[in-house]
Amino acid sequence: MSRLTASNVLLAREIIGYYPRPKSALIPLLHLAQHQDGYVAEDAMEHIAELLHLTPAEVLGTCSFYEMFKLEPVGRYVINICTNISCLLNGGEELLHHAEERLGIRSGGTTDDGLFTIEDVECIAACTEAPCLQVNYRYEYRLDNDDFDRLLADLRAGSRTDIPAHGTLGRIRQHIGPDRIAGIERPELAGTPAWFTARQPAADGGAGGGS
């Protein structure tokens, strides 16, 4: 719904600074927009286009390729139930059907109260703990129907404080202080690191090559 807030613009500029070319910051900035609004709003995409000197179509082109980016509002909790092969063998589909029945929505849908969205997802790398799911990308392992019902109850009760609202991914961000950064330059300006040149054996100067 909205453009990036002033503080998020500051964060966006910091992120852009970590990349040799601004467009590389596109996915991180889309995550930032989703962190802000819970989904990636059109205005946010236009704002990101401005920040990165892209067209909104380019931003949408990238954004729509990646399934984690939601172009419409979703529930506060997005429950991703794995039905890929290892989970399928251990009841993943049954868990999905149970979830759909409990919440009265189909995969891809959101409950009327805006609390839950269910998705039937591909392998989320917890195959030995099947069936598994993620709530806003936090894992729950080896669930049976009762486990699932308990999870819903906990989420409804707000007792799962370890799970942030949808859109927030890593709650810890990388920050590189200006005093610690080695220096990330545009590829056109970057050359061979001085320390590398200095460590090249004199006789073998050719291997250093480059600029």
Partner: protein, 827 residues
């Protein structure tokens, strides 16, 4: 043919490879698909296009290739030929792969060929006949999308037909630099689309329709207008701007219905601006003049040709100094010669000018060593841009320059009063305040780089000097970047570069179609056809030349306003709308005795004529175009001119017969033969071969004079509270052709004053939508926008847009134009 058969350079660098068992030679680095094509083997393809980077995604061009490690299927569009490569384009594996791809492409294709514009000229349809199984094994439900959606005012998209070849999207991003359409979503859900409410408003959008290998993209002007098998086609040249893009002109039932780009290596590489592509609509306009007319009181009445010619001739048979001709850039080279001979050899007047006060001094255009577009775009070269934004005014040139910078390592030095569409790609950007460009170049040339000139700082001056004096070839694109500034500063700037880089070559960014032809043929004061000075020369077939030095359009209009001109001939010119000083035009028109207009349209000016002679337009008569490089290319008639309209040269011939002496021309061939004999620069032209030449020949200038430059002048700086006005043109404006093309007329944006962010801040305008503009006694309110592309202390106002006539602020002869801005009273 084998490697040893090949003589010449190709054999030296040739790469031998085996194609279906026979050894051929490829060029160094040549892609397999191209090498096979050159040797007579066409490999089917959808995504590959020779003017764009290959992506290898449709997989239709898969062929079996063995590079020594066994045969594998490789996309021939991405594979440069290497020595000893063996290719099988007919093998079972190749055929199976291609059949398979075609089946995949068709499973979700609607097969609505009978109602599809592309039907009959569709690569998918053609390949489906040649490859793939006869019937579909696909019984699932096809993908469905909403049927054609408009993605711009000119282009509609049918996503069901789309085969996702990435041609349109690559064109938009790579070639045009307008990535406004994009792949959206993923996998089998992938579609091409725009961002919501950001249409594909590219000046080049029509190219995507032309290169679409299916009927997914259609142009709204052509949609459902004709079927390919009903079309007749000829090759010609676009006359919309002075780059002369090569085109294919198509008609149906004696009506122009479509223009396609023709791949000319020298000029436009197959691409067209939408203005080149769609202004053919104007030739079918209701506004066409279809019969001669003579004024009776307040009304123009139809007349017979002989009466109209007689009346015009009578008006021209006055003292030569009292006859003047404005215009001529619309005409073919042949007609230009005929009119120049009529004016200068028959009537004896030198008051002739094809430029309407918005060009460069003719001597500058004619006298500088000329660069071709290829010279400007030479890989690794340095391009100096000192003109209006080429994207707005010379779009074909813009595409070539953009390619040179992005793909071929050329560097751009931009020396302009405001940002252009190439600024983001420029290596050096010098933002010259109005009136200072000459001094900036003088400072660079003289190494006087210690002091800033306006906002151009010493660091930038030094960098520019360093790049210009390096060992890279330098070419200069120059023109009138600012109509609110005298042309002399452009000349001064050129003089500076000429001193610093004696080997530089120059491409004039001239305004209006065949204007370079007009200058070359002497439709400009002081020069005769061939760019020779009037004095001391009498061309073959001529009996006399003017005995006085004529005036340019500005001078002609002043003379007319002063009562010194009796007869004013408008040769396809509309000065009332088009000359920068509108007030002067009105005075001149009121004062002259007779106005003769030779035109195809009823315009503000031609409707003021006393005698109106209907001319044949683009696509209606044969002739030759001479682009800004001096390159000749054919103009070809495809349809008959409406009513009694005639080619311009014929009108000149009839007038001369009536005035005397007769031009002695009664056919185009005869006219060309005479031109070959009397115009030195045309002596070697093979007129008959012009139509079939891939890239037309260049004029060979023979000049009898030297170009001279004076001391660089500088305009008085704008006052501390004033803004220097920058005026130029947009592609879509109130111009004659655009406004008479129904699909384009609405595209002109309304006039707004563009102000720099810093000026808006300083003047506290942020909360306002309008400003009051003061200039001398004039004062009015204008909407404004904050525009990063505008330099501080300047204001940009494009000319000829709806809502405001910028010419209210302009006066001919003023060095620069300064305006003042304030918050409107009561706001």
């Amino acid at each position: 043919m084998t490697a040893t058969d090949d003589a010449g350079t190709e054999a030296v660098t040739g790469v031998p490879f085996t194609l279906n068992g026979t050894v051929f030679e490829a060029r160094e680095g040549e892609l397999l698909i191209e090498a096979c094509e050159r040797h007579g083997v066409h490999i089917p393809r959808f995504c590959y296009h020779n003017r764009m980077r290959p992506v290898g995604m449709c997989r239709m061009c898969l062929v079996e290739v063995d590079t020594g490690r066994g045969a594998t299927l490789q996309p021939s569009c991405m594979l440069p030929v290497t020595p000893e490569m063996a290719v099988e384009t007919e093998s079972e594996a190749t055929k199976q792969a291609q059949d398979g791809v075609l089946e995949f492409l068709l499973i979700n294709h609607p097969l609505d060929c009978p109602v599809c514009d592309k039907g009959g000229e569709c690569p998918l349809q053609d390949n489906a006949y040649a490859f793939g199984p006869g019937e579909s094994r696909f019984i699932e439900e096809k993908r469905h999308y909403e049927k054609p959606i408009p993605i711009s005012d000119l282009v509609e998209l049918d996503r069901e037909r789309c085969i996702l070849c990435d041609r349109c999207t690559r064109f938009a991003s790579e070639v045009a630099g307008d990535p406004l359409i994009h792949f959206i979503d993923r996998g089998s859900q992938t579609e091409v689309n725009t961002f919501p409410d950001h249409p594909f408003a590219s000046y080049f959008s029509g190219n995507t329709v032309q290169i679409c290998p299916v009927g997914a993209l259609t142009s709204s002007p052509y949609r459902f207008k004709a079927r390919p098998w009903d079309l007749e086609a000829v090759e010609s040249t676009a006359t919309v701007d002075a780059t002369g893009a090569r085109v294919v002109v198509q008609s149906s039932q004696n009506k122009l219905v479509r223009i396609l780009g023709l791949d000319s290596e020298a000029v436009n590489w197959g691409w067209l601006s939408d203005k080149d592509r769609f202004t053919y609509e104007a030739t079918n306009s209701e506004d066409r003049i279809v019969e001669p007319q003579i004024r009776e009181g307040d009304e123009l009445r139809p007349s017979r040709w002989t009466d109209a010619v007689k009346a015009a001739a009578r008006a021209m048979r006055t003292e030569p100094e009292r006859v003047a001709i404005i215009g001529g850039s619309r005409l073919s080279l042949e007609s230009q010669y005929a009119w120049a001979k009529l004016a200068k050899g028959v009537i004896g007047t030198d008051h002739v000018d094809a430029q309407l006060g918005d060009g460069v001094p003719a001597a500058l255009a004619l006298g500088l060593p000329r660069a071709t577009i290829a010279d400007v775009c030479r890989p690794g070269g340095v391009i100096v841009l000192m003109s209006a934004d080429p994207k707005e005014e010379l779009p074909s040139l813009y595409l070539r320059i953009r390619h040179a910078i992005v793909e071929d390592g050329a560097s751009l030095i931009e020396i302009t009063p405001r940002e252009s569409s190439l600024s983001d790609l420029a290596a050096i950007r010098l933002r010259t305040a109005p009136g200072t460009v000459g001094r900036v170049l003088a400072a660079i040339a003289d190494n006087d780089v210690e002091h800033a000139i306006g906002s151009v700082d010493p660091f930038q001056l030094r960098r520019a000097r360093t790049m210009l004096t390096g060992n890279r070839s330098v070419s200069v694109v120059f023109g009138r970047a600012n109509l609110a500034e005298s042309a002399r500063y452009t000349a001064d700037a050129v003089g500076g570069i000429r001193r610093l880089v004696p080997n530089a070559t120059y491409l004039p960014a001239l305004r209006r179609g065949n204007v370079n032809g007009a200058l070359e043929m002497g439709l400009t004061p002081s020069f005769l056809p061939g760019g020779v000075r009037n004095r001391d020369v009498l061309p073959d077939h001529w009996t006399s030349t003017p005995v006085f030095e004529g005036k340019d359009t500005d001078g002609i209009l002043r003379a007319a306003a002063a009562g010194d001109i009796d007869t004013l001939v408008l040769l396809g010119a509309d000065p009332i709308e088009d000359f920068p000083d509108a007030a002067l035009v009105r005075e001149a028109f009121d004062r002259v005795e007779t106005i003769v207009a030779v035109d195809g349209f009823v315009t503000a000016s031609s409707s003021r004529a006393d005698i109106l002679l209907p001319a044949a337009l683009f696509g209606e008569s044969d002739g030759t175009f001479c682009n800004i490089e001096g390159r000749l290319s054919p103009l070809t008639a495809k349809v008959t001119a409406p009513g009694l309209a005639r080619p311009d040269w014929m009108i000149a011939a009839e007038l001369s017969a009536a005035i005397g002496p007769d031009l002695g021309i009664d056919s185009l061939d005869q006219l060309r033969a005479e031109m070959g004999e009397s115009v030195g620069s045309l002596a070697e032209v093979d007129w008959a071969g012009l139509a079939s030449a891939d890239d037309g020949p260049l004029l060979r200038p023979v000049r009898n004079w030297d170009l001279e430059f004076g001391e660089a002048a500088s305009a008085p700086p704008t006052s501390s509270y004033g803004l220097g006005l920058v005026v130029d043109r947009k592609l879509w404006d109130l111009g004659t052709l655009v406004q008479r093309s129904p699909s384009l007329a609405g595209l002109a944006p309304s006039a707004e004053l563009h102000l720099s962010p810093s000026d808006v801040q300083v003047m506290n305008l942020l909360d306002h939508d309008y400003v009051t503009v003061d200039q001398g006694d004039i004062s009015f309110d204008l909407p404004f926008v904050v525009d990063q592309s505008v330099a501080p202390h300047t204001a940009w106002l494009p000319a000829r847009l709806p809502g405001f006539d910028v010419r209210k602020l302009l006066a001919a002869g003023r060095p620069i134009t300064e305006i003042q801005i304030r918050v409107p009273e009561g706001d």
